[in-house]
Symmetry: C2
Subunit: 206 residues, 2 copies
């Protein structure tokens, strides 16, 4: 059996960071990983709002939910994944219905960035729990800019640095749906219709 790429297999959304900063040349490789990502019609809509100064980095705490603030403020670097949806217009189905692809494009680019970060020995933890307006305000981004995710980025630290309730999460097994739930070979099956929540019996799987 061929092997899963280590840059994918070894990625985990851990929470403990070392204080060590991420050097500029290492950051630039992350930007290049985003740059080479494909996008429909080569629209390249993904932009990265990056904390350069300690002042900007510290302000990001204001944008985060309390749950994320408990660990993510230790990250030396934040990268917000942002898009102007007008840069990547929807495509049309035959009946005229539309398919938005700007979030999908930004997702592929973020997948690239996460794989590249893992390959460089970095921890990059994507967060959905933040306020878009606060992130826009911190960077002076215009109101049409949507912020899809904020990544807390740095070198991995030791779990002991974390609040006790988060330490166990660092080493808990990764919970995933079985492959036959993800894949419909030739024909959609009842398993494909189950959400992760339904599969785990009503409990969140994370």
């Amino acid at each position: 059996m061929p092997e899963l790429l280590p840059a994918l297999a070894e990625r985990r959304a851990r929470r403990a960071f070392e204080a060590k900063p991420v050097p500029d040349d290492v950051q630039e490789v992350l930007w290049r990983a985003v740059s080479v990502a494909p996008s429909h019609g080569n629209t390249q809509p993904t932009r990265l709002l990056v904390t350069m100064s300690p002042g900007t980095r510290d302000r990001m705490a204001e944008a985060l939910t309390e749950g994320n603030r408990a660990w993510a403020t230790a990250a030396p670097l934040f990268i917000a994944v942002a898009v102007n949806p007008a840069h990547a217009p929807p495509v049309k189905n035959r009946d005229g219905s539309e398919r938005d692809l700007w979030q999908f494009n930004a997702g592929i680019a973020t997948g690239n960035l996460l794989a590249q970060a893992t390959a460089l020995g970095l921890l990059a933890h994507p967060m959905a729990g933040f306020d878009e307006a606060v992130v826009r305000d911190i960077f002076g981004a215009p109101p049409e800019i949507r912020v899809l995710a904020v990544l807390a980025v740095g070198y991995p630290g030791s779990p002991e640095q974390l609040p006790e309730d988060l330490q166990a999460k660092e080493t808990a097994p990764q919970r995933r749906l079985p492959l036959d739930h993800l894949v419909a070979g030739d024909r959609w099956r009842p398993e494909n219709a189950l959400s992760a929540r339904e599969h785990s019996g009503g409990k969140s799987t994370r």
Copy 2:
């Protein structure tokens, strides 16, 4: 300067396929690459509609736009990236506005799949030009399933197999925005607001 991961650097949306099929154990590594992708709240909404039989593979031509049909029908394998949006509910900003993340989640998973395919020596070409309803019909997927992309997958072939107008595209340089257009360090700048189309002087960049 650290190096860009070859699985990202060597990916190109080429169009020439060898007839050689993609072995089952190779396909399974692609599914695993999707399985390990992160998703908000571990919702794992991405499903893959995969052509197993030659009959299903051949029917995919019906779903494609004419432009894609000209080359993609030579691919031995199609993978449609599908999501039930209800599996990954939106997150809320502080003002109650919502942020849809199902497409973003599927994008990260697709980024993983493309990197894994490249690492395995495969060509995986994502297409936006197809009809969602036809894809749903081919696989018997219910109407709530959204199809974001169809990937034409196989081993790379020789450009000479392609219609003449497509041969030049195989070796054309990859056109990308400069990195300083993608990245806003601490502060949003006018370059960040330019679309790829505006940057290339009104011409499509692909």
